[in-house]
């Protein structure tokens, strides 16, 4: 109840009623109050001009048999075009849930969430983002090339262009020559790289990546970190990136969101403006270590009350 009041005040400030947004209880209240303040509509649109993700007072509670689980509570966050935002925090602090909410795979129970200025649902319908799951999630009856081709087929891209894009993205993740292999013939790390190539294949402006490199060994991870950084630098994509690794977060990000569990909330947001053309050796530079230190402190304080 304490949460829902917070949502309402938040909703009053900048809420926009939109038909496509699914009417959970929190949003229904929001839309009622919205009618009384017509000027709020413009403020949200101004924000959406350069911001890709707008989150205000977002909460998400799972109703389970053991009672409600507050996976996300009162999240406020704005992510701009071209940001690389890492989410770091202990297991169960809601990182995956937040990413899934942005992807319209989970329905928030309160607050607001805008993606590219429209609802998360509309953004999904517009195919605005590419999602890399924690597991590779390759289809076992498709070859690696076939798996990368899947979104392209669904989105109706012609065959000749498909082949082009498959080859390009397989090269990007160092999988050239494995196109005819089936998933079970590849190591877990290679499968995960294939799933990254699949998400990149249709060239989405927004990338949502849930611990994509979690299962990879150090060397492959370093390599892919560099590749991803270069890709981001070149293309001005917006990336939301969940990780457990502090060096990875600091190396990749323009912004680091430190989260804390039970209920899942944002503990700290750290700006991290290392030079864009950085290489892996920056990990020894003092400014890198300083940011890493702040992240580590945030993580420690964020969940000092258990483990």
């Amino acid at each position: 109840m304490l949460q829902s009041t917070a949502i309402n005040t938040n909703g009053n400030a900048t809420g926009v009623a939109e038909g496509t947004k699914q009417g959970t209880t929190g949003q229904a209240e929001k839309m009622d109050t919205n009618g009384m303040s017509p000027e709020t509509g413009t403020s949200s649109q101004e924000q959406s001009a350069n911001s890709v993700i707008n989150i205000k007072g977002l909460s998400l509670t799972f109703e389970t048999n053991d009672g409600p689980v507050h996976a996300l509570s009162d999240i406020d966050l704005t992510i701009n075009q071209g940001d690389f935002v890492s989410f770091i925090g202990p297991s169960g602090c809601g990182k995956t849930t937040l990413l899934r909410a942005v992807a319209d795979l989970e329905q928030p129970t309160g607050g607001e969430l805008w993606v590219n200025g429209v609802s998360a649902q509309q953004a999904r319908l517009n195919r605005d983002y590419g999602y890399v799951f924690q597991a590779p999630a390759l289809y076992p009856w498709r070859t690696i090339a076939g798996n990368i081709s899947l979104p392209l087929e669904v989105m109706g891209i012609p065959k000749s262009e498909r082949q082009d894009r498959i080859a390009r993205n397989m090269e990007l993740v160092n999988l050239s020559g494995f196109d005819k292999k089936y998933p079970w013939q590849l190591s877990g790390g290679m499968q995960q790289r294939a799933s990254i190539a699949r998400a990149l294949s249709f060239d989405p402006e927004l990338l949502l990546m849930d611990e994509p490199f979690g299962a990879l060994d150090e060397i492959v991870r370093d390599h892919l970190n560099e590749q991803l950084l270069r890709l981001w630098d070149k293309t001005d994509k917006t990336v939301l990136f969940v990780t457990h690794s502090i060096p990875e977060a600091v190396f990749l990000s323009s912004k680091i969101v430190v989260m804390s569990p039970r209920p899942g909330r944002i503990y700290d947001v750290i700006d991290c403006n290392l030079p864009r053309d950085r290489g892996l050796d920056i990990r020894e530079a003092p400014e890198f270590l300083e940011i890493a230190h702040r992240v580590r402190e945030g993580l420690k304080e964020g969940h000092s009350y258990d483990d």
């Binding site: 795979l105 517009n126 999602y131 089936y182």
Partner: protein, 309 residues
């Protein structure tokens, strides 16, 4: 104890040979087959001897045990024919007869086989269509499923004559009524299998399609259908066998003169037990052949799909 006597050569042949034989797949199967044959001979002697003793008595013949055994195993209309009698009958009615002859078991097997296959194909298509409807439409799920399940609780022997008579009345004759009975039995395992298969994709695979805003068409053809292929084959293995049962049952009420069912029926009219048993063996061989054919195509298809490891 007859079994012991029969398999003992294997045992005395040396422990090494015995354990080597039993560790493979053929060894245990061979032992079972031999045990069955031994029990079969033993039962044939037991079941046929009362009649044989009757004959001895009537003709006042002195008999020895070995005489009795050899006579019980060579009666013309035994209660239980001996395996070798059935083998000889099978040989006579397959190899020695032209396949077009009404007395050829190959001819009758072909009649039953064609009914089985037609019924199986219709059953598979029907089973798939029903399953697709059930998975995509909640009200179909609620309304169809109870009917489908209760259809299988009715004994097929009870409704087979009605199906034949009704279809005959509206002018459908020949292979189709029999095939429909085969269909009646074979669509069910297909429907159950495919329903399960279409619902089998993992959440993460469904989520992936959701992120692409995939159409239901793509969702079906690119995810649900490929996921259900292994389930389809499991269903087909059962369906081909039940289809054969349906085809044989379908031949009974027509007073048919063709097919393994007709052979069974005619055999029982005239007390031709050897003919009954050879028809039974032919049906069993047909079933085994069909099931393993489905099994082989299962392997081939899964391998083609890259799912066989």
């Amino acid at each position: 104890m007859t079994t012991d006597a029969l398999i003992s050569p294997g045992v005395t042949g040396g422990q090494g040979l015995w354990s080597r034989l039993m560790s493979g797949k053929t060894g245990p199967v061979l032992v079972i087959v031999m045990a069955i044959i031994a029990i079969w001979y033993f039962s044939a002697v037991m079941l046929n001897s009362p009649f044989q003793k009757e004959i001895y008595k009537r003709n006042s013949v002195e008999w020895t045990t070995s005489q009795l055994i050899s006579d019980t195993l060579s009666q013309e209309r035994p209660v239980l024919p001996a395996p070798d009698q059935v083998v000889v009958e099978l040989y006579k009615t397959t190899i020695l007869k032209k396949v077009t002859s009404k007395r050829s078991l190959v001819y009758h097997s072909w009649i039953t086989l064609s009914t089985t296959l037609l019924g199986f194909i219709i059953g598979t298509v029907l089973g798939i269509l029903l399953a697709v409807g059930i998975v995509h439409n909640r009200s179909l799920d609620k309304s169809l499923m109870p009917w489908i399940i209760s259809s299988q609780t009715i004994p097929i022997l009870a409704i087979a004559p009605m199906i034949i008579v009704v279809l005959n009345a509206i002018g459908i004759q020949g292979i189709l009524p029999k095939a429909f009975i085969a269909t009646y039995l074979s669509f069910f395992p297909i429907t159950v299998g495919i329903v399960k298969g279409l619902r089998s994709p993992e959440v993460i695979h469904l989520d992936l399609m959701r992120t692409y805003n995939a159409s239901n068409w793509d969702l079906f053809w690119k995810l649900r259908w490929p996921s259900s292929v292994p389930y389809l084959f499991t269903g087909m293995k059962v369906a081909i066998a039940t289809s054969l049962v349906g085809a044989i049952v379908g031949e009974l009420p027509t007073g048919a003169v063709e097919g393994l069912g007709a052979r069974l029926l005619a055999g029982s009219y005239y007390g031709q037990t050897i003919q009954i048993w050879s028809a039974l063996i032919a049906a069993a061989l047909l079933a085994a052949g069909l099931v393993s054919l489905v099994g082989i195509s299962n392997k081939v298809v899964l391998k083609k799909m890259g799912m066989a490891q």
